[in-house]
Symmetry: C2
Subunit: 123 residues, 2 copies
DNA sequence: GTCGTTGCAAAGCGTTTGCAGCCTA
DNA sequence: TAGGCTGCAAACGCTTTGCAACGAC
């Protein structure tokens, strides 16, 4: 049985309006502006729940803390800047078909593409 | 000034011959079979060094510990099984050109593709 | 009033660091 | 022999868990 709370509302909204993947601590900081006494554990608990219900998805890239972003249903393309380590969400840059075929026996259900390089600011 | 040691040799060989991305602990376990008193710290130190010299590359996917694999120069496609959580390295499944274009200002230097689904064993 | 949710603090875990002894070049 | 490398244990930072108080329904 799930209940509606102000904490859950604020945390979800922080992720939803960010426009880019956020770390748990970034999410907690943002949400703390509206709920000063918000605990980290609560943030983590909501991220976990939202993640399990597929409302948010995790985006990882090597050597960096995990990040989470709003799952709007479509497969995304991400861009990781090797200089400043920021992560960007790119949109409308590719079709809906996986860019690679898997060998016989593998059932492909989804995919993700990560581009590496220099962002406009660092390039 | 870098020196050649048995530990470094064994650790590198473990990654090189695995054929799939390994977690630091898997690497440590494999290497420990040849050097029983091998410390975890040594394993981590070598992974870090190899990673910085681009001899091995990190492969992450959400909710899983980081993994490392031998970098043979070509961009790879990985397959993550949602059932057993194993990670596979697929080969020769796509061209060398990035599957997506980045907006003006972004300089693309490399890319990675991750497919999600069911592996032959779990499907 | 019930029972899921919260904040806090402690525990857990993977990774890193300090250090004295070891070993390669 | 010099100085990098190693094993061990302590330290660290992020995440999870235990628990009593709180608040949604």
């Amino acid at each position: 049985m799930k209940r509606h709370t102000r904490q859950g509302e604020v945390i979800l909204s922080a992720i939803k309006t960010a426009g880019r993947p956020l770390t748990p601590l970034e999410i907690h900081e943002l949400a703390s502006k509206k709920i000063p006494r918000l605990g980290v554990a609560t943030t983590y608990r909501h991220i976990k729940t939202l993640s399990e219900s597929h409302q948010v998805v995790g985006v990882d890239y090597p050597g960096q803390p995990p990040r989470y972003e709003w799952a709007d249903g479509q497969d995304k393309v991400h861009f990781a800047c090797r200089a400043c380590d920021k992560l960007f969400a790119l949109e409308d840059t590719m079709e809906d078909t996986p860019p690679a075929k898997a060998p016989k026996g593998f059932k492909v259900q989804g995919f993700e593409v990560m581009l590496y390089g220099m962002c406009p600011e660092c390039g």
